[in-house]
Each structure stands twice: as C-alpha cells, then as structure tokens.
Subunit: 699 residues, 2 copies
Amino acid sequence: MSFARNWLGILMMFATALGRLPHASADEGMWLFNDPPRELLKERYGFEPSDKWLEHLQKSAVRFNSGGSGSFVSKDGLVMTNHHVAADALHKLSTVDRDLLEEGFHAKTREEELKCVDLELNVLMSIEDVTERVNAAVKPGMSAAEAQQSRRAVTNTIEKESLDKTGLRSDVVTLYQGGRYNLYRYKKYTDVRLVFAPEKDIAFFGGDPDNFEYPRYDLDMAFFRIYEDGKPATPPDHLGWSKSGAQDEELIFVAGHPGRTNRLNTVAHLEFLRDVSFPDLLNIIRRREVNLRVYADRGLENARQAQDELFGYQNSRKARLGGLLGLQTPAIMDAKRQAEKALQEAVAKDPKLKDAAGAWKEVDAALAAWREMYVNYTLYERAMAFNSELYTVARGLVRLADETAKPNEERLREYAEAGLDSLKQQLFSEAPIYPALETSKFADSLSYLLEQSAGQNEADRDFALQLLANMSPADRAAQLVNGSKLADVEVRKKLAEGGTGAIAASDDPMIVLARMIDPKARAVRKQYEEQVEEPLRQAYAKIAQAKFAVEGTSTYPDATFTLRLAFGQVKGYEDQGQTYKPWTTIGGTYPHAEEHGSLPPFKLPKSWLEKKSKLDLETPFNFVSTADIIGGNSGSPVVNQKGEVVGLIFDGNMQSLVLDFVYTDKVARAISVHSSAILEALRKVYGADALVAELTGGK
Amino acid sequence: MSFARNWLGILMMFATALGRLPHASADEGMWLFNDPPRELLKERYGFEPSDKWLEHLQKSAVRFNSGGSGSFVSKDGLVMTNHHVAADALHKLSTVDRDLLEEGFHAKTREEELKCVDLELNVLMSIEDVTERVNAAVKPGMSAAEAQQSRRAVTNTIEKESLDKTGLRSDVVTLYQGGRYNLYRYKKYTDVRLVFAPEKDIAFFGGDPDNFEYPRYDLDMAFFRIYEDGKPATPPDHLGWSKSGAQDEELIFVAGHPGRTNRLNTVAHLEFLRDVSFPDLLNIIRRREVNLRVYADRGLENARQAQDELFGYQNSRKARLGGLLGLQTPAIMDAKRQAEKALQEAVAKDPKLKDAAGAWKEVDAALAAWREMYVNYTLYERAMAFNSELYTVARGLVRLADETAKPNEERLREYAEAGLDSLKQQLFSEAPIYPALETSKFADSLSYLLEQSAGQNEADRDFALQLLANMSPADRAAQLVNGSKLADVEVRKKLAEGGTGAIAASDDPMIVLARMIDPKARAVRKQYEEQVEEPLRQAYAKIAQAKFAVEGTSTYPDATFTLRLAFGQVKGYEDQGQTYKPWTTIGGTYPHAEEHGSLPPFKLPKSWLEKKSKLDLETPFNFVSTADIIGGNSGSPVVNQKGEVVGLIFDGNMQSLVLDFVYTDKVARAISVHSSAILEALRKVYGADALVAELTGGK
C-alpha cells in the first residue's frame, strides 16, 4: 500500500464531503462525558446510554500521565493499556542486563509484580462547570496581560480549593479553545506495578514501516496493577470482558484521552500550523530521529538505551507528516474555507453575534505576534535547544524554588499547589540517565541553538553564544553532562529542600545553565501568554459561542488529553480498488513475517514461533472501526453496548491522520487489538492462565 | 569512541595551532600536478619527485564522473577504486533478482565482465594555463553581468577549440576561487566494465556507525576495466604493486580528486556556510535520509532500490555535520579570524596591493545578494524541490533543446559543445527508474517546496502553488511519475532529436512541468551568476593575488574535483589518552563483528566466515596516514616513493572532517585499505588468482 496512492483516495473523499464538514455527523466526535451524543446515538444506532452506563465507563477509564490511556479490567486493580504506552515504564525499569521492552515480562505471582519508577495514573471522578467563575475573573476593559493573570489566579485558586476539599487531583480544563472551563477531579495512583508485557517483536511487529498502516498484526498490550498501602487497590469501577469480542458492524465505544486536535481552528490558524509549526516541528523531529539512530546504531547497549525515545520520534514524525499532508491537500483546506465563510456570513446576519465578527482578525493578530516570538519560545521556553533529561531536571528545580516561594495564585500553572505532587513524581524520578546518550542529544540541540540564533538579532545571538561558553556544542554538552550531579535523585531532593537559597548557591553546571536561561525563557513565556494565548482564548471563545448559536450546542470540543467518548462501528473499507477486511487473524501474522524475510522489525519472537501449532489461527487479531480517535487514545478500551471489553485501541491507519483537522469515516480507521486475540495469546503463548482468569472473572 | 569527546581534542589542538594556520605546513596540501610542493617534500622528507615520476602518477590516476577517484593498475586497463565509488554502477546493474551491491561480483573471464550503464572515466592528459586569456576577455569597466558573460563565452570557446584540436574532453578549471584558470584535457572512457566487487557486508563493514571512524575493517575496493572498440584498452600509464605494502612512518602519496574545500574563504564566507548553507543542506539531507529509510524499511526489494542513495545521504550527513561542528568551534574560527586580520594588515601596508583592500567587502556584498536569492536558487535551479530522476531527465531535455539552438559561446556552461557527449551519457542512461521510489522522493520534495514557498513573497508562493496544480504533494507526485514516459530511453532520444519543436509539443507531464519551471530557474541562475558568482570570483582573485604576494606562491588552491597530489606519512595517533595504531589487521575484523552481536551492519559475509582459517590474520587491513584528503578522494591510490600501490584511500576519520576549512595532522587521518589486505582477500577469500596475477604483474 503506497502512501502516495492513499492520498488520492482522501482527496476524492473530501471533494465529495464538502457539504457536511461543519456539523458533527456520521460516527464523528470526541464527546465530553458530561455532554454525550445522546441524540446522535439514538438516531444512528437506536442506543440510549444511561447515566449509570456512562459513569461505569468513565470510572473504568484510566489516564497514563506519561501519555496515553488505559482501563481497569478487574476488581483487583488490573489496568490494561498498550505496550507502546507502557514502553516508557518498561524502558525505565530496564538495565543493561534486563531489557524488558525487548524480552517482555510476566509476573506469575503478585510478589513478582514490578514497581514502576515514576508512573502516575488518573481516574476522572467528577466534572464541574466553572466557566462562569473563570470568566467572571476577567473584568471588562482588562488588558490581555491583566486578563491572563486574573485567569491564572482564579484557575490556580479553584484547583487548590478543590484539592483541599476533596483530596483529589484537580485540573481546570479549557474546552472549546476557551469557550468553556471545566474542573476535572481525578483519583490518582502512583504505586503502579508491571504485571505483564509481551516481547516488543510481537507488540510492535512490523515496526515503523507498519506503524499507521493496516492490515496489522500487533499484540500491542500490557497490564499493570494499582497498589495502595502496599496492597492491590480496588478501583472505582472496572470493565467486564466480552465473551465473543468485537463483531463485524457492531456498535462500539471508546473511552480515552485524545491528545490534541485542531478542528475548531480558523483557516488562518491551520495555515500557521501548515506553514510554520508543523514544518518546524518536523525538522526538529527528523534531526532528533537521525541523531538518536546514529547513537543507537553504535552498539546493542546504545540501541537499548535509545529505543523507546527513538520510537517516539518515529511515531511523531509519521503522525505529523500525515497531518501536514492533510493541511497541504487543497480539497481539505477548501472545505475548511467554505465552512468558515458560512459561519462568518451567519454571524454577520445576526446582530446578537456581532461580538464574534471581529474574532477571526483577533486570531490573525495573535498569530502574527506568535510568529514574532516563535523562535525564542521554541528555543528557550519549549527548551528545544536543551534536549537533555538533566537540563529538564535542572530547570524544574530552579523553577520549583522560585515558584513555591510565591503565593499559589501567582504561580506558573504547572507549579500551582494542586499539581505539585505529580510534578515531584517526575522531578524525583529514579529513571536511569545515560551520560553518553545525554551528551549526544544535548550536543545536537546546542548545535540547533547556534543555527537558529544565527538568524536572530544581535542580542539573541550573543545570548546563545554566552550559553556555549566559547566552546563547540559537543564540548559544551560534554562539560555540562559530565560535570552535573543531578543524575543522583538525592542531590535533586536536597536542592529542592534548600529552596531559592540552595539554587542560588549551587555550582552544578546544569543548575548554573538553567539559572542563566530562565529569565529569558520566562520573559518569552509571559509574552506568549499575554500576546498569544490569552487573545486566542478570547477570540475562540467568541467563535465557539457563535458556533453554538448557529449550529446548536450538540457539538464537542477539540481534544485536550482529557477523557472523551467516541463511538463507531467495526467496519472494513475500500481504498484504491482494494478491500480491507474488518479484521486480520492471528494466522496472518506468520506469512506477513515471511514476506519481509523475517528480518527485524518483521521478526517474530521465539515464543510465537514455538507456539504456532497451539494457536487457533482463525482468531481475530487486529480490527478496524470508525471511532473518532487520535494520538493519546492509545490504550483506550473498546467496549460493546454492555460496556464489556471487545478490544484495545492502539493505532489509526494513515488515512486517519487528518482527523487532527476534520473527521471522515470513508477510509479513516481506528485500529484495535481484538479481545479474543488478547486471551488467545495470554493462554497459549504465555501460559498466563491466572491473568486470563482475572480478566474473565473466572477465578 | 564518542563523537563528543573527540571534539575536545580538536579544540585543544586548535588552541595551540593558531600560529601556523595561514601557511602550508606539515603534510598539508592538495597540490596541483603542475605546481607540486617540491621544496616542502625535499625539506621534510628529502624526496625530490622527477617530472617523469609526476607524469607517471598523473596519468595513472582516474576520475570517476559519478564522483570519486581511481587508478589504472595494469597494462590491460584494470581500474581500482572503492566499493562505495563503484556502488552507483553496481546499483544500476542490479535488478530485483541480482543485487550486486549485496552479493558482490567476480568475473572469472573477460567475457564475464559486465558493461556499466553510464559510467565515464577521465584521465588528465595535460594542463595549460589560460588565466591571461580568460582574464583578457573581461575588460575594465564591464559590469559584473557583462564580465560573467564574457568569461563564459571565452571559456566555452577555449574548451571547444581544444576539443576540436585534440579530441580530448577539455575543461577550463577555476582555481584559487578565480585567481587562476587552467585548461585540463582528459582522455575519456565510456565503455567501462565491472570486474570485481566484494559483498557490501565486508566492503562497508560497520556501516553508518563506523563510517568516518577508526579503527576500521573495510575491504572498500572494486575493480573495473576500460574498453575501446570492444576490447580491453591500454591506459596511458599504470601503477605497479608494492611487494610489502605501506610501512609505518613511510612517506606516501595520494593522487586523487578532492571534491571541494573552503580553506581560502573569508571569515564572513565561512560564517555564511555555518549559518546558512550547512544547516539548510543538513535539513534537506536529514529529511531525505528519513524519507528514504521509510521507503527502504517497507520491504527487501524497496531496501535494495534505495540502499545506494540512502548510503549517499548518510555519508553526506556525517561529513557535513563534521564540517558544521568545525565551523561551530570557536578556536577554529578565531584562528581563521587572526589569519585574515594578518593578511588584511599586510595588504593595508603595501600600496601595490591596494586593489585587494576592498575585496573582503566585495565578498560580503556578494553573500548578501546570495542570501536574497538563496531559497529560489535552492528550490528551482538546484531543483531541491523536485527530487526525481525523471524530472532531472525532463529538465535536461528541455535545456538541451534550448541551449544547443544557441551559439556555443552563449550556452550555459554544462551545455557547451565540449561537454555534450558526457552530458548525453547521463541523459540517455539505461539505469533503471523505480516508480514507487520516484513518487516517494518527489512527494517529499514537493512538500518541501510548499513549506519553503510559504515564507516567500506572494508571487513566489503562487508560482509554487501552480506547480502543485491544486493537488496535495503526494497526489501531484503520483500523477507526474505515473504519467511520464521518460523512463523509456528511446522516448528521451526522440525528444532530444526533435529539438525545441519536440519539447514544445510534448505533453509528457514531466516535460510540461520542466517547461513551467525553467524560466524561473534560469532567471535565478542568471542573478546568481551575475550577482554572486562573478563578484566572488573577482574578489577572491584579488585576495589570492594578495596572498601570493604576502605569503609566496608556494601554496595550493581549494579543491575543485580535479586531480591533486597529497602526501604524508603512515602514522597512528593519540586522542583523549587513547592510542590508535597505524593499522588494523584482518584478524581484528572478527572480534569487531562479535562485539556488535554480528548483526547488520556488523554482520560478516559468509565467504569471510568460511575462509577465516585460511587467512593470515596478521595482515594489515586498514591504515591511517597524514595525507591531506577529503570527499572525492575516495578510491585514490596510495603510492610509495617508487610510485607503487601501497594502499587505497576510502575514508577519513571524524577528526579529519575539519579539513574542509583547515589542515591539521595531529589527529586528523586519511584511512586506506592496505595493499596487502587487497591481495590476501582476493587470493584466499575470493580465489581471484588471475586478478592478483594481473595486479602484481605475475602473469
């Protein structure tokens, strides 16, 4: 299946889909649990979810703070997710002698379950609308800077009050790009233990070449367990297991945490993504991918150290390229333009909406400001010029000291009281740091700093040169990494306890560097918040209100890595004259390996070769559905109308990558591991009978 | 050996080497054969090369027009070069069923020798100084545009006259960035046949990770034979074979074709390379490397199609990164600044040199103009936005028709009469073209076009959009590649015969595209030639004259992919407290494979595993020397004082990559295959006794 040919199909699809873009339709939508698509579900499928049904699914869904989704699948706190969501934890638990990513893991008893280094899981317990309170803090006539500060203050305060009252992690979430604010309360689990993971060779069978492709043959699953007080914890709710698994054309639901979409963006904003953000990000991703691969290719241990991060860049590169290609497809942008024009015309006709008329120009102005500060924001606040775990720690410590010295309402969002525990979980992580890998990454990003600053004004150039301290990027990186003691978590804790005094007195070279950079990074962040973020929020709030008025409120906000409900059908598709069946079978795995010479990443693990004769080769392996998902949904449970697990989301096909901007169900598909394949593999390849019993409630 | 740590060594080295940078010293220099370093050789080594010695070496040296060097090594026209220089020819001779790169090749008889598709070899027969005639064409008071046109006219005329008179390929070569012009006459061979190549797994053992590293264990060699009238040809001269091969500390010589250096550049010009050219080129290289790898990883046949080009990008990426890191090393740039200042002060003191005083500012002005047109020149004239063999052919055909309709002296340089045969050799190459690979490359580069043009003015943006014809890059690429008939060489020849009329009438979509682009590409090229190239040439000619006056004439010009003589000693080195021996042994190859799990690219071919017990494991394999070489020197013979082959250049170490800008012999080393290893492998691994006999004159 050629990447190029697929796009002809998408183009044709959009050419005929212009009419229906503005409204939610078909199986579209990443819906809020407090505003589910009741009418749509009733109309299309005759299904009416009860409040209890929704609450059951909501409280069985889990967010992985490392990025991804999961679900509770037993009363004893078993958590199911993807292998690639678990990869970060697996990598951090691995050593030169034990590569859990490569070899997999199976705890045969509870005692063998491995405690993760810094994993935090969240369960959404309640949602409260705080739009009025947030908006009330912004008084008429306030400047954008004042509005931004007031909004931050009230947000930090709401979260702190909620934390004090409930003890739950409390996040104020911005929805509809500023059209609505909701307070999400999460139960938080930080003692999370690894129960089971298959070998990478079957979890990510087909590797980068097969990523975002279909047909697929991946056992992309892993299991963890939550603990409290050293004992397995009882989750708020958990999902049962379907006997039959997903059936063709069955209505299915996905509860997960889509990371980010840009469907409500104005056309000018999409053009900004197309012309500035995406190309810039892709250049960074490619250079990091190439640099990491060079590091990995030097030897087996290097490869082990780099593999998880390398996968991350490869995955982002493919996802972003798919998105960029969508933005570079005239039919998609033309459809967006028509929809925008229609909304603008409706706004112009309705005097009640005259506030919104200027919103598009406000977006343009914010983007113009954004362009101005883009390079500095990217280099210093996003810290793209300082690609190093140690630097991230150093900056975290410097900011922690400065921020916690301030009243809560004045702090930067991520240092507000309500989130400090989660922040420290990361900052004091025992995850290993590899000096040679650090040096390689840091050297490359310092070289990037020099390249980028060469196009800046003299003050910016001089600042960058100061950071290099009259050394080449490679020498400076080696000096910083070798000189820093921050790999030692005890050193970090001591510095954190010492507060601003300890930070000011530290001669750790990474701390010194972070101190040098921080004023500049903060300055450009302030600029960004006041000149970009806040104006965009205000403008989009107006556009969202206009949309509600014109198109009705039954719509959904862009994804924000918070819990959403998607739905759809298990369904194959046709593309370029080729038919794609709704699922692959376990038996198809073996010829797929052979067609690629059984060489990595198409090499099957020994376990799968040895147990082939025991497997029911007709068992469905991976299936496709029309559910509206995107990155962040990885690991989401797929459930049937009874709320039972029938699958496990792990990918979308190449054609689904435009879902960032617009929904389509013609050839875009979510890809899941079938629940039957999970049981079949656990039973027959891994002999994990206890786990199967726990999942199916048979024990 | 870590990349980062090496750089600390280089930094320290430059910190102590400031004083001796301006002058040729130590084993420095890529010398002209008509201006060899007689005094330096006598002084340092007591060696005085005779004219005959020089001529023998000159006429035994071979240039590969595909990029690289070689030498005649038998009276029957046997040519020795690197496997990686031969790779282009090997790739073009390969098919889905026969992968010559991977499997190697051995013609046991002359009849089995395989005729290459489009390879052209050149031998430098004579050098004539034409500086006065070229400069006389440029009259005082001429504008840069007029000067450029006059210079082009006289150059094309000199070449045509020489071709008519001698029948030899005749190139006017610009030396010292415009300080001198020489007419080089080459005997040309276009019937070149493949005799022997080892498997890629030993030729490029260690792959990208080991590339530009030492110690090394590569049998990076291949043999061709020149033919005339269907029979092996007798070359003008050929090299004998040393019995002992290279010895430690022995004086050795390298005759080859270094591609390009920038040692005479002004500091501002080096900064331009550092801040503009290199980063831009590296971004292009990285994106193409990533895109090609994605293509290659889809399957074994894809990998075969892409491997040669992929190696090219990996190699360029490493070389350019090494160069960029040199430019980003303050000690190197400081030394350059000091040397420039010293020269400028000498110029200011000498009234005879007052012409030169303004030259540095003229360079600055030309670079400012260059910056202005850089994007358009890169996109359209360099055709970075149209990465496709078919497009290259289409543009060649469009220009061939237009240019050959003009008088010789008005033509673009590469369409001048003297070079037409060589040009057609490429244009009508029977090398296979792979549609899916073409589409993938073209789609990526059209996406690049959109990204780049987004930052341009409206006219440029509109032009780019027109080229996309309201399609996404992928769809447009598929349409162009699938619609074009130019893969068929007969179609090309017919179009070429039909001249401008046939081109104008063609509806081949690639021809149509090339016709659309050409006016814009020609316009920016004209701008470049008049506002950048010619002013730079005039300014550098003045700087070169001043340098001759101040520092004496015993210096050498920057590399220009023309024949040069380098010299040096076989010599190990110390770096970061580690000692690197002058050579590795064949026996070291096996543990090097095992240390890397014997996985690709550290997997040895079957032949080497099977024949291990027969090999003399103490045989020197790869050795290092202080000879001053750079990319383009690959495949150069290394000879002793008797002019006998003692080795075969194939690489430089990482520390040698600064040689682009400045010579150093402390840790920078050229890497060669030892002549003894060549014989040992031919005899014992490949049973190529006839070849050994031919090399050693034993037959």
